[in-house]
């Protein structure tokens, strides 16, 4: 009796935990982080931390590799509402490569430059996530800040820049300062669009928000349940009206259906309301304790 009860408990524990506990098919220590590839059912995820409670960085559905599993990846496609036809795209942070592959498929003519500091991430994306660089999809293995400075020296410009360099474990603090955003603004020229995948919690939210505002002024703040991410959308040509956003969403709607991106829902959720503490200190190269601020709770 006792034994069967114990077995029941064990069984129950197995049933409860097994959907969460995927099978780790690859584990590698890089110069920057521990990289795990984990299969759960038909879902394959790239993780940057051993801790189970850390969110997955990038996942694909092996049965439907084109679909975007995560809300925040889908949300970043809202950039297409501000830059409907980008010819030159810069993505800082490769992850599993879901986003660049989708943009490449949707905009086959666009030239996409991807900057990824970690060579192991690039190799894992190729081996396990079907990422393949090509003439239109070039990967540069370097620091995002260094790439940006060099690009300015070459007088390069981009119609769309996607900043996705924060994997949740450790923030590269030199990519979250006013000076870095000013450099990025130079690359955007007078019409470019910036999409930044950032944090919506902790005291860092206030500091990050005022830092973006200090460089770009007005921007769209885009949050959506269940994602704990906040997407910042900036347009150097000025933010479009909701009507314009909706018209563009209608045009993209059918093409994005295969990716499961509900783009028609996005315009109403892209807010211009200031919901942060305006007195928070701007992050600069001189003052950049982003990781320390992230462990602090918000005042309000």
């Amino acid at each position: 009796m006792k034994r069967s009860a114990a077995m029941l408990v064990t069984l129950a524990a197995l049933v409860i935990t097994s959907p969460l506990q995927g099978r780790i098919i690859h584990r590698e220590q890089s110069l920057y982080q521990t990289i795990l590839v984990d299969d759960t059912g038909s879902r394959r995820c790239l993780q940057f931390s051993v801790r189970r409670d850390q969110r997955n960085q990038s996942c694909i559905d092996l049965k439907h590799p084109e679909q975007m599993v995560f809300t925040y990846t889908q949300m970043m496609m809202a950039g297409l509402l501000l830059a409907p036809d980008p010819k030159n795209i810069l993505i800082i942070g490769l992850g599993g490569g879901t986003l660049p592959l989708a943009l490449n498929a949707l905009l086959p003519e666009a030239l996409i430059d991807i900057v990824e500091i970690d060579a192991v991430v690039v190799r894992v994306a190729e081996e396990y996530f079907g990422f393949q660089s090509s003439e239109h999809l070039q990967v540069f293995e370097t620091d995002g800040r260094i790439f940006t400075k060099r690009a300015i020296m070459r007088h390069d410009q981009y119609d769309l820049i996607i900043l996705d360099a924060f994997n949740g474990d450790y923030i590269p603090e030199h990519l979250m300062t006013r000076e870095y955003l000013q450099e990025t603004r130079t690359l955007l020229g007078s019409k470019g669009t910036l999409v930044a995948n950032t944090f919506s919690q902790s005291r860092l939210y206030d500091h990050e928000s005022v830092t973006y505002a200090s460089v770009f002024g007005d921007y769209f703040n885009f949050k959506q349940y269940p994602s704990s991410n906040r997407i910042i959308l900036v347009s150097m040509a000025g933010l479009p009206t909701v009507d314009v956003l909706k018209a563009r969403a209608t045009r993209w709607r059918d093409r994005l259906r295969a990716y499961r991106i509900p783009i028609h829902n996005y315009p109403d959720r892209m807010s211009r309301t200031i919901d942060w503490d305006r007195d928070a200190r701007v992050l600069t190269d001189q003052y950049a304790p982003a990781n320390l601020l992230r462990s602090r709770n918000r005042h309000r």
Binding site: L31, T142, R145, K149, H174, T177, D285, Q286, P289, L293
Partner: protein
């Protein structure tokens, strides 16, 4: 009294060296990233500059060692530290243009920016040993005490900078404070030398 004074001067030099080293890695990040090679460059430059400083400081102690001369080391370290805040940007910009490889870029930038102030801070320890050693029998004991206080200073400098200073102050402000600490202690030992 002299013992306490020289010990606190050694403590401060240890504190400033490590605080500066941590700031060094941070200062280079906007141009060279924050990867392991940046830290490698900074630590290499600090070790080289300190070793040269130890050698020179020991040699300097051969010629009429005095508290007054000791205070001059502090004045010059304060004077070389203070302009760092002004020259980092232009120096890094030039090095960035000249070196494509961020490893060599960060090494050269660290050399130009930190070698001189760190060299001068390295003069302090051997000179302090000479000031405090009374006889050969106790020389090892005196040196051991000085290593102890200056290394405790290094530990606290590391902790204070990485845990708190970066959260409270701009980096330029921290450099200014370090420079101010050296200046004040230089004055204290100058005054102590005069009253003797």
């Amino acid at each position: 009294m002299k013992n306490l004074l020289v010990s606190s001067l050694a403590f401060t030099s240890g504190f400033v060296i490590m605080s500066l080293e941590l700031l060094g890695g941070r200062l280079l990040a906007p141009y060279f990233g924050s990867s392991i090679y940046v830290w490698g460059s900074v630590i290499t430059v600090f070790m080289l500059a300190l070793s040269a400083g130890y050698l020179t400081g020991g040699w300097l102690s051969l010629f009429n060692p005095s508290l007054k001369r000791f205070s001059l080391i502090f004045f010059s370290s304060a004077a070389t530290l203070y302009p760092l805040a002004m020259i980092t940007e232009p120096v890094m910009e030039r090095v960035f243009e000249a070196f494509t490889d961020p490893r060599w870029g960060s090494l050269v930038a660290a050399l130009v920016l930190f070698a001189l102030p760190t060299f001068i801070l390295g003069l302090i320890s051997p000179y302090a040993v000479r000031l405090l050693v009374v006889n050969v029998d106790r020389a090892g004991n005196t040196a051991g005490n000085l290593y102890f206080v200056s290394t405790i200073g290094s530990a606290l400098g590391t902790l204070a900078t990485s845990f708190y200073f970066v959260l409270w102050f701009q980096m330029d402000t921290i450099i200014f404070l370090l420079s101010g600490m050296l200046l004040v202690l230089g004055f204290v030992s100058w005054m102590a030398a005069r009253s003797r």
